[in-house]
Symmetry: C2
């Protein structure tokens, strides 16, 4: 499974691609950021994201997309721009028929580092370790996007296993009844502490 992680933002949007599945080493495919000019009108910035994310999709053909689920703790202006940037990424994925999952920052931290309150540096260090990189991709948005993708592989794997177990018992998970972002498993992160 190839997952494209998105750390949404209007000025810098982190993109991280990971190949992998549960129980096997994960591999970084690519990571980077989509930038749009701060002074430009909002609709042009959103179009810039739309155009650039299409290039990522076309080049790397992910199987699933994981986007950070936001809460309005930051400033109102920031959160609206960030929400809109995330929306553009979600529509881009939906247009291609790709599944989209949202993960909260604490879910990502817990999955990657075993600690839902981990510091940024701790998460970056774990991303480097999990993906066997020589250093954390810069800027940090790219590393955060990789963490999202890792989280999605591990949590997605958990959801798949639930579906599998139900199937073995002759039951089936009604479609949509176990959305990835509601699965409460901790992923595999704690094994890395």
């Amino acid at each position: 499974m190839r997952v494209l992680g998105v750390d949404p933002g209007l000025t810098r949007m982190g993109i991280g691609l990971v190949d992998g599945r549960l129980g096997a080493p994960l591999k970084m495919v690519a990571a980077g950021v989509i930038r749009t000019p701060v002074g430009a009108p909002i609709h042009e910035r959103l179009l810039g994201i739309d155009v650039q994310i299409a290039e990522w999709f076309d080049e790397y053909e992910p199987d699933a997309v994981a986007v950070e689920r936001m809460f309005a703790q930051e400033g109102v202006r920031t959160i609206m721009g960030t929400a809109q940037a995330a929306g553009v990424a979600m529509v881009a994925a939906a247009r291609r028929g790709l599944p989209v999952a949202l993960h909260t920052p604490s879910e990502v931290k817990a999955a990657v580092s075993g600690d839902g309150r981990a510091q940024k540096e701790q998460v970056a260090a774990m991303v480097v370790r999990i993906l066997k990189l020589s250093e954390a991709p810069k800027p940090v948005d790219a590393t955060d996007a990789l963490a999202l993708a890792i989280c999605h592989v591990w949590r997605g794997g958990a959801a798949d296993r639930i579906a599998e177990a139900l199937e073995k018992r002759g039951l089936s998970a009604p479609s949509g009844s176990v959305p990835l972002h509601r699965v409460r498993g901790r992923g595999r992160g704690s094994g890395f502490r």
Copy 2:
């Protein structure tokens, strides 16, 4: 000039199309709402808006798009969904190379009724009067979108006249220096009180 007004929302997004220019009667071209199912995942709802708004653009070929500028006064969940719906509309316009302007609710109220604090019913009554309709289009989101389009014609006209005046004096407005949504004129609304 044909303006497509957008009253953004995830569950109901008002769309109102108006033909007109400053100093001439305005005409309603069409009005309605884009709906998406409340229970569906956010990315599917945003895709639904993306697909449906494309149909409005294709059928009516507007020259400009006016979107309500939001403030985070409502609940956080609502504002994020609304912001994302607005973002999808803006990208759809930008993709077609159309100018996009944002107008605040009080700008719209002032332009249409002469009173920035007008009640919903007052605005609806003015929309009916300005566009010579027999009644206000339902649901109210459609009427609000028409008010946005009216506001844009009148305020856009003001911006055009500034550019014209500058040109007559041998000056030119540097591109982007007089964005429509920053023009502080009251439009023509007060003449209708």
